[in-house]
């Protein structure tokens, strides 16, 4: 799986800490999600997508080997 959270964050000129505070998770969790080391739950993925005003499948993209 790959994610475009970093790109979306850059569009809003936002740090990982700021996004983490808004979503309600730790900065390390956002960092892990961006590095594709942690797969968020459905609720968390929906929260992130809602914040960036995009669809979940545009932020989290399945790869061929998933």
């Amino acid at each position: 799986m790959k994610t475009t959270i970093k790109v979306e964050r850059a569009k809003k000129d936002m740090s990982q800490s700021e996004l983490a505070e808004i979503i309600g998770v730790s900065r390390q969790t956002i960092h892990s999600i961006e590095r594709c080391k942690f797969v968020p739950s459905t609720v968390l993925a929906l929260k992130i997508a809602a914040f960036f005003e995009t669809k979940v499948e545009e932020i989290f993209i399945l790869e061929d080997d998933d």
Binding site: A20, V25, S26, Q28, S32, K37, F38
Partner: protein, 188 residues
């Protein structure tokens, strides 16, 4: 105790809040300092001395209790990733502790121990192994090892993918078992 729908609303074995960590650190550090000072005045008396005093044991248990409080306190931001790391760490600590107790138990079967001298060592070492090993793995997963969360391979896959697993998964536990056997043979 009861929620609006009259269902029972309590958490079995609840964690302490984040402030629990401060209490844990305070208890651990104070107990450790007191133990070191006492040991200095007693010329570094052996921890598991047969003449061990009640004060020594209380201080050692206090250190353990402080670490236990730290272990079972929530993080500042206790999100789903932290909960997953906590589950993995508890699983590892529980498995290791059970293996250790099994090792002690089975050596007692073949070489009955003198429990008058060993009961504190058996209890304390089992307790501390669980707590310390949990804390080590929890903070390793939280701060250093991003792949820790999804590391859930079976024994066979571990051996195929990583030959070093044979050393960590088998040789080291066997070495620990032999050390426990030797300890029981020497001090029994």
């Amino acid at each position: 105790m009861f929620s609006k729908n009259n269902s029972i609303d309590f958490t079995p074995f609840p964690m302490y809040g984040y402030n629990g960590k401060y209490w844990g650190y305070a208890i651990t550090i104070i107990s450790l300092l007191l133990y070191v000072v006492k040991s200095i005045f007693q010329n570094f008396a052996a921890i598991f001395d047969a003449e061990n005093t009640v004060v020594n044991e209380v201080l050692l248990w206090s250190i353990g209790f402080g670490l236990y409080t730290i272990a079972f306190s929530k993080e500042k931001n206790d999100d789903e990733r932290v909960r997953l790391i906590r589950y993995q760490s508890l699983r590892i600590a529980m498995g290791t502790m059970l293996s250790f107790i099994f090792a002690i138990g089975i050596t007692n079967t073949f070489s009955p121990m003198n429990f008058e001298n060993n009961v504190f060592f058996q209890m304390y070492s089992s307790f501390m192994m669980g707590v310390v090993w949990y804390l080590f793995n929890f903070y390793r997963g939280l701060l250093f090892d991003a792949d820790f969360v999804y590391s859930d391979n079976t024994v066979k896959v571990n051996l195929i993918k990583n030959k070093k697993y044979f050393i960590y998964g088998y040789l080291i536990p066997i070495a620990l078992l032999l050390i426990v056997l030797l300890f029981n043979w020497v001090f029994a």
